[in-house]
Symmetry: C2
Subunit: 144 residues, 2 copies
């Protein structure tokens, strides 16, 4: 089971805005790089826009970053594209039996433990920026 690829696509989009900064980054152009439908890109772009990561205007072709890419972390993108809610990375079974000591306490016992793990994940994502991804790609291109 994997989390939605919206996250990876969001990173792809932002990275592409930089690599192709001299071109026009329309949803169609981006879609051809990601290899998907332009509507998929527009939906994700909308999420990035709501999060204040990109600027897009209806009717005007092309999106641009709303911040320095070195100030957009993978965590920002992860939050923006909404693949996981707070405290909800790990699914919980509903309505365990309140007549059982385990059933009536398991949720509040486990929740903070799950939270710690989720926060560790999110912290790791906060340590990397889109700029890092851009540099990684440029390096790989140099080598080739």
């Amino acid at each position: 089971m994997s989390l939605s690829s919206r996250f990876a696509v969001g990173i792809h989009i932002l990275t592409l805005l930089e690599i192709n900064k001299n071109g026009v980054n329309s949803s169609e152009f981006i879609a051809s790089s990601v290899n998907t439908n332009p509507v998929v890109i527009r939906k994700i772009m909308g999420l990035l826009k709501n999060a204040g990561l990109v600027k897009v205007r209806p009717g005007v072709a092309g999106a641009v970053p709303a911040k320095e890419l070195s100030e957009i972390s993978l965590f920002d993108v992860y939050k923006a594209v909404n693949i996981v809610q707070d405290q909800e990375l790990f699914g919980m079974h509903e309505n365990p039996n309140p007549a059982c000591p385990v059933g009536r306490n398991i949720q509040e016992t486990i929740t903070p433990l799950f939270s710690v793990a989720q926060l560790a994940l999110e912290k790791a994502l906060g340590n990397v920026t889109i700029q890092d991804v851009v540099l990684g790609i440029l390096e790989k291109e140099q080598i080739k």
Copy 2:
């Protein structure tokens, strides 16, 4: 989007084995505590068994832990119930365009970054044991 509740159920099962260690932990009994179908429990129990965490025998009612609960971490359970594969916590879009510098490099650039985050998550899970969960539940029972 949340990861499968099999993980939470697996923890519930192992915890219950301890709390109800003087009783017979049949799939039906456990199912009533978890509030699900016995078959769901048997399936998850099979995964725990394959991972060497519990002992169960066909035809014989009841499961018992195969190790000390202080030596079973949440990470062990997480691996056992198979909610996430290695390097696959975050979904990736397939077949990005190889004609684009971003498309042809994004996967290998992102994969190690995702890996670091996933490992941080898993490490956090490794720091907690089922015994900790058992103690947490006992504490909550004392207070009430």
